[in-house]
Amino acid sequence: MAAAVESGITTESPTLIEVDRQAQFAFSPGGVKYWLWVLFCAGLTALGGAYWLHQIYYTFNITGYGQPTMWAVYITNFVFWVGIAHSGTLISAILYLFRVRWRTGIFRLAETMTVFAVATAGLFPLIHLGRVWNFYWLVPYPNERSLQPDFRSPLVWDLFAISTYLTISVMFLFTGMIPDIANAREKATGFRRILYSILSFGWQGTDRQWRNFSMVYLLLAAFATPLVLSVHSVVSWDFAMTQLPGWHSTIFAPYFVAGAIFSGCALVLTLAIPMRRLMKLENLITIWHLDCLSKIVLLTSVVMTYSYATESFMVWYTGDPIELATFHERYFGPQGYWFWLMIFCNCVVPLLLFIPTVRTTTIWLFIVSIFVNIGMWLERFVIISGSLSTNQDPSQWKFYMPFATEIAITIGSFGWFLMNFSLFAKFLPIVSTTELKDGIKYLRQAVREVYPYRRAA
């Protein structure tokens, strides 16, 4: 079988079985290098975890936190990861509803990224809590005090939104994956066969199963669409609902959603480009897919530029001196370099995507996507830490710099995300053969016509 898999797609018009082989090669057992990589990610996770335990034990004393930056890197990471999650749902749900064909190659990857990004994001409100052992007080549960959370608090909205989002995303990912797992089950042996047998729930692709599958998949997509818009709006309301200058703004919901899709699509690019090379998925995740994705990045980048302009314009137009002072500090204050670096990453670098060659050259796309990731992280950092630093009372202004703890936990979150993602990619179908086969003619077209056919290495 190995030989057959390695051959993969060799023709200009791949057959269904070739698609299967190619995809199954991707999640065939990994080699030493793969496990070293997973181990490396696990090490980063352990580092972050150790720092978290250290922080719980020794309190926030070992962080850079202090008055007035009550929120800083942790909430930045939270918003960053939640934002990352959004592009997955966009690609899998919204584009599904619109029957957009280029989603087929990358939607599973994006969805997987969504689930693990939400799972990573969900850790940060906990990491950030002063008394994490009491986090369950945010959840309504029967207790002798009859005391429940305050549903007025945007943080409770957040909890509901994020947990709903995680649940729906997991169900959406898993439901959509059942036929692919069943497909994999048929060729797998040993442990993997048991695993796929359990996870496929005995799927055989009968007409009855497909009929209910199509309906539930459609409805989940229909639910996920408003959900994806609501979740980041709710996250943005964590800020917009307050009275803090720099946060208190009505444009936050669309602005955050656009930013989320921007950063998410960029991270899909960041993940897909090395993956398609390492896992020999070039013919399933084609340049065509990447091109389409990078157009979304370009579009959202321009939307972000517009949002920054609008945000600043609104502040200038209202003439509120407190807001003006905050924005003045944001642009020209002691930490203004964060803002200008963000503008460079989010507004200037993505303009390269106007050039078709950049959109079809993976190395360029990779570089741009890395810049966008950095820029979008900085954007949240500037909004959160910067606005808190320059608050209503000038005597309480103080700028924030992270300590080793926050940096290690941030690195650990990337390790945690990449570890989960890598394990998933090697054990579960990271590309959806079902959908690729459904849209085989578009794939053939992509392979054959739109871009010069390149043989899998």
Binding site: N183, R185, L220
Partner: protein, 182 residues
């Protein structure tokens, strides 16, 4: 009923398979089951028509779940607020606008969960034993149509299937109490 025979036919494309279903439907043979590796639109439509079904009942599960979620969110938010009557920031005890977020989220959550449960329920999953006539290629690149018919009807069915473009037809003794439904 005489000895029942399963005819396991294999099709290369979804169009062929759909044609087979339509032909069986036209011949009033309804005791068949289809297997396909991906949800091809023409196939789904053909199968639905052949079985005389509307759309999947999973819809109702989702609707019920969504409504339950919405209503329980109303009960949860307002009920728990009235328990303590706490004043936060001068707002009324039960302030509806912020609760709408909770209602929306629970609606989605309950709707989604009950939809997936409905999917499992109506698909009779988990399936512990393979359906008769299932071939592993039906999950990869081939479309399968398993027709159960009496011995005397085998040749008619075969010809219908071949006419629709079946690549290969195998015969198999049907399980005794196989009742094909949906």
């Amino acid at each position: 009923m005489s000895e029942a025979i399963s005819l396991i036919s294999t099709f290369a494309t979804d169009e062929d398979c759909a044609r087979g279903i339509e032909a069986l439907h036209a011949a009033h043979i309804h005791n068949f089951r289809a297997f396909y590796p991906y949800p091809s639109e023409p196939l789904l439509e053909a199968a639905n028509e052949a079985r005389g079904l509307g759309r999947s009942p999973v819809r109702w599960w989702v609707l019920t779940g969504g409504l339950t979620g919405f209503l329980s969110a109303i009960a949860l938010t307002i009920g728990t607020s009235l328990e303590w009557n706490l004043n936060t920031g001068g707002r009324p005890v039960a302030s509806i606008p912020p609760y709408v977020v909770i209602m929306f989220e629970l609606m989605i959550l309950f709707g989604g969960i009950s939809g997936v449960i409905g999917f499992f329920f109506h698909s009779r999953m988990p399936v512990f034993d393979p359906e008769p006539g299932y071939r592993s290629r039906f999950n990869a690149d081939k479309f399968g149509l398993v027709v159960q018919c009496a011995e005397n009807e085998v040749s008619r069915c075969e010809s219908i299937l071949r006419g629709a473009g079946a690549e290969d037809i195998q015969r198999e003794a049907a399980p005794a109490a196989a009742a094909h439904g949906h």
